[in-house]
C-alpha cells in the first residue's frame, strides 16, 4: 500500500469513526432532551397534584363547617405559599378556632403536623421542579449540546410556564428588595 493510500485510508477511518460517534451523539442528545422535557411537564403536574391534595387534607383534618371550607382553603393556600412565614400554621389555627372554638388540642396538633409536612413535601417537589429545569437548561446551553439542541428546535415547551408557586408577598419582596414584618392575620 502506498503512503498516500495509507494516509487517505487513515483519514477516512478517523472521519468515519468521528462521524459515527457524532451521529449517535445527536440521536442521544435528542432523546435526552425529549425525556427531560417530558420529565419537567410531569413534575409540574405532580406539583399541582401535591398542592391540591395537601389543601384537601388540611380541610379534612380541620373539621370546620362545610360553608367555611372555601375560606379555610384560602388561608391554607397562603400558609403553604409561605405568606405567613415559618409559623404559617398558626394562621390556619386561628381561622379554625374562630369557626369552631371547641376544636380539640389533638386536632390542632394534627393540623400543625399536616401543614408542616405538607409544606416540606411541597417545598421538596418545588425544589425538584427547579432542579429538573436547571439540568435541562444546562443541557440546552452547554457546548456542544447547544448547537445540536438549536438545530433540532429545542426547547419545544415554553419554559416560562414551568415555574414554582410563590406568594404575592414574596414577589413583592424580591421586586422591592425589601420585606415587611410578618402578620398572622
Amino acid at each position: 500500500m502506498t503512503t498516500l493510500a495509507k494516509v487517505l485510508l487513515g483519514l477516512l477511518v478517523v472521519f468515519g469513526l468521528f462521524f459515527g460517534i457524532s451521529v449517535s451523539s445527536v440521536i442521544s442528545i435528542n432523546n435526552s432532551l425529549v425525556t427531560q422535557e417530558a420529565g419537567l411537564t410531569a413534575q409540574y403536574k405532580q406539583n399541582q397534584n401535591n398542592y391540591d391534595n395537601f389543601i384537601k387534607k388540611v380541610v379534612e383534618v380541620a373539621q370546620v363547617p362545610s360553608m367555611m371550607r372555601d375560606d379555610l382553603e384560602k388561608v391554607t393556600k397562603a400558609a403553604i405559599q409561605g405568606r405567613y412565614g415559618e409559623k404559617g400554621s398558626q394562621a390556619v389555627f386561628q381561622f379554625i378556632k374562630e369557626q369552631n372554638p371547641t376544636v380539640s388540642s389533638e386536632v390542632y396538633t394534627k393540623i400543625q403536623q399536616v401543614i408542616d409536612s405538607g409544606r416540606t413535601s411541597f417545598e421538596s417537589e418545588q425544589k425538584m421542579l427547579l432542579d429538573k429545569k436547571r439540568v435541562y437548561e444546562v443541557s440546552l446551553n452547554s457546548f456542544p449540546t447547544s448547537f445540536v439542541a438549536k438545530f433540532l428546535g429545542f426547547p419545544k415547551i415554553d419554559l416560562s410556564n414551568i415555574d414554582i408557586v410563590t406568594s404575592d408577598r414574596t414577589d413583592k419582596a424580591f421586586e422591592k428588595k425589601k420585606d415587611e414584618p410578618i402578620q398572622l392575620r
Binding site: 487513515g10 413535601s121 432542579d131 436547571r134 439540568v135
Partner: protein
C-alpha cells in the same frame, strides 16, 4: 460527547506514529490502535458512571436460619509431578503436575437473614470440621445489618439543588463520620454522640435497642434509622450534617437531636429521602415534647421513632432522581487520569508495533 473528546488525543498519537513510521507500522496496526482506544474509552465511561454514583446503604433484618454443609475442598496443591525432556542436549524440559486437594471436602458455616442475605462465618480450622463459636452464638431472630450497593444520583450531581453547600466548613470538627461500618459480621452502630460524654454502657444499650428497632421496621418500611445526639449546637448544624452526609443514604431516617444539660431536646430535626414528610414532622414534634423529668429514657425516644416512622414513613425511590444522571461527568482528576492512561496506551502500542511486525 465525552467519548469524542477522549478519543481525539489517542487517535492523533496513533495517526502520528503511522505517518512518522510508515514502513514499520502497517495500516491494520493503526486500526488495532483505534479499536483498543475506543474499547478503553468505553470502559472509562462505564467506570465514571459507576464510581460517581456508587454508594452503600444498610439493610436491616433478622436471622432466620443457620446451616452447615459440605462443599468441595478449596485447598488445592500441585502433586504427582514429573518432568519430560525433548530435543536432545539443546532441547527443553517441561514439568507436568496434577491438582490434588488437602481434604475430601470442606465445611461451610452459614446464617441467613429475612432479607435473603447469607452470612458466611469464618472457619476455625482449615477444613472447617470444628464448629466456630461465633456460629454457635448466632440466635434465630437476632437483628442483622448488612451493606448493599445502590446508585446514588444525588452524589454524582454536586450542582443539584438537593446538595447543600457552605456549612460543613463551619462545623468541620463536629461532623461525625457516617455510621456505616459493619463489625462482627452483621452489626452496625447507629447511635452517634457529638460533644457529649456519655457512659459506654449507655451508648451500647442505645445501639442495641436501635438495632432491634431497625430489625423490626427495616424490612417492612425499608428504613435504616440513625440517631445523632448533640449538645450546644444551633439548628444550622443539622444542615451542615445534611451537606456532609449528602442527605443520608436512600433508606436512611436520621434523627438529629440537640439536648441541654439534662438531656431535654432543645431542637430536633429528621432527615430522610421520603415522599411524605409526615414521619419527619411527627417524630421531631414528639421528641421535642420528650419528658425527661425522671431522666432520659432510650425506650421513650425509640418508641416515638417506632410509632412515627412505622405509621408515616414512605421511602422515596432513587429513580425519582434519575434526571441527575445527565450531570454525571468526569471530575478533573478523572479527566487527567484518563488522558494520561490514554496517552500511555497509545504511545505504548505505537512503540510495540514499531518493534514487532504483525502485518
Amino acid at each position: 460527547m465525552i467519548l469524542l473528546v477522549m478519543l481525539i488525543i489517542p487517535t492523533l498519537v496513533a495517526f502520528g506514529f503511522m505517518l512518522a513510521n510508515k514502513r514499520r507500522i502497517a495500516f491494520k496496526e493503526f486500526l488495532i490502535q483505534i479499536g483498543v482506544q475506543t474499547f478503553l474509552i468505553f470502559l472509562f465511561s462505564l467506570f465514571i458512571g459507576w464510581q460517581n454514583t456508587h454508594d452503600v446503604e444498610v439493610w436491616n433484618g433478622r436471622i432466620t436460619a443457620k446451616k452447615t454443609f459440605h462443599v468441595s475442598c478449596e485447598h488445592s496443591y500441585q502433586c504427582n509431578c514429573y518432568t519430560t525432556c525433548s530435543g536432545g542436549r539443546n532441547g527443553s524440559c517441561t514439568t507436568h503436575c496434577s491438582t490434588c486437594y488437602e481434604h475430601w471436602y470442606d465445611v461451610d458455616w452459614e446464617a441467613y437473614t429475612s432479607n435473603g442475605e447469607t452470612i458466611d462465618i469464618d472457619r476455625i480450622d482449615r477444613q472447617g470440621i470444628y464448629e466456630p463459636p461465633r456460629w454457635t452464638a448466632i440466635q434465630i431472630g437476632e437483628p442483622t445489618a448488612l451493606p448493599h450497593s445502590f446508585t446514588n444520583y444525588v452524589k454524582a450531581a454536586p450542582n443539584s439543588l438537593f446538595r447543600k453547600t457552605g456549612l460543613v466548613e463551619q462545623y468541620r470538627d463536629q461532623i461525625p463520620r457516617y455510621p456505616g461500618n459493619v463489625y462482627d459480621y452483621y452489626h452496625v452502630n447507629r447511635f452517634v454522640a457529638v460533644n457529649l460524654k456519655l457512659p459506654e454502657q449507655f451508648k451500647r444499650e442505645f445501639n442495641q435497642k436501635l438495632e432491634d428497632l431497625n430489625a423490626t421496621l427495616g424490612r417492612a418500611k425499608q428504613v435504616n434509622i440513625i440517631v445523632v445526639m448533640v449538645t450546644g449546637m444551633p439548628e444550622d448544624y443539622y444542615y451542615a450534617l445534611e451537606q456532609s452526609w449528602i442527605g443520608g443514604k436512600k433508606n436512611d431516617f436520621i434523627i438529629v437531636m440537640n439536648v441541654n444539660d439534662i438531656y431535654k431536646p432543645t431542637w430536633v430535626k429528621a432527615m430522610a429521602w421520603s415522599s411524605n414528610k409526615m414521619a419527619e414532622v411527627v417524630v421531631a414534634d414528639k421528641l421535642m415534647q420528650l419528658d425527661v423529668s425522671k431522666g432520659f429514657s432510650i425506650d421513650s425516644v425509640l418508641d416515638i421513632a417506632k410509632d412515627g416512622i412505622g405509621k408515616n414513613f414512605v421511602r422515596q425511590p432513587m429513580n425519582d432522581y434519575q434526571y441527575l444522571s445527565k450531570e454525571i461527568t468526569p471530575t478533573l482528576g478523572q479527566w487527567i487520569f484518563f488522558i494520561i492512561v490514554g496517552l500511555i496506551v497509545s504511545i505504548g502500542l505505537g512503540i510495540f508495533f514499531l518493534q514487532n511486525d504483525f502485518y
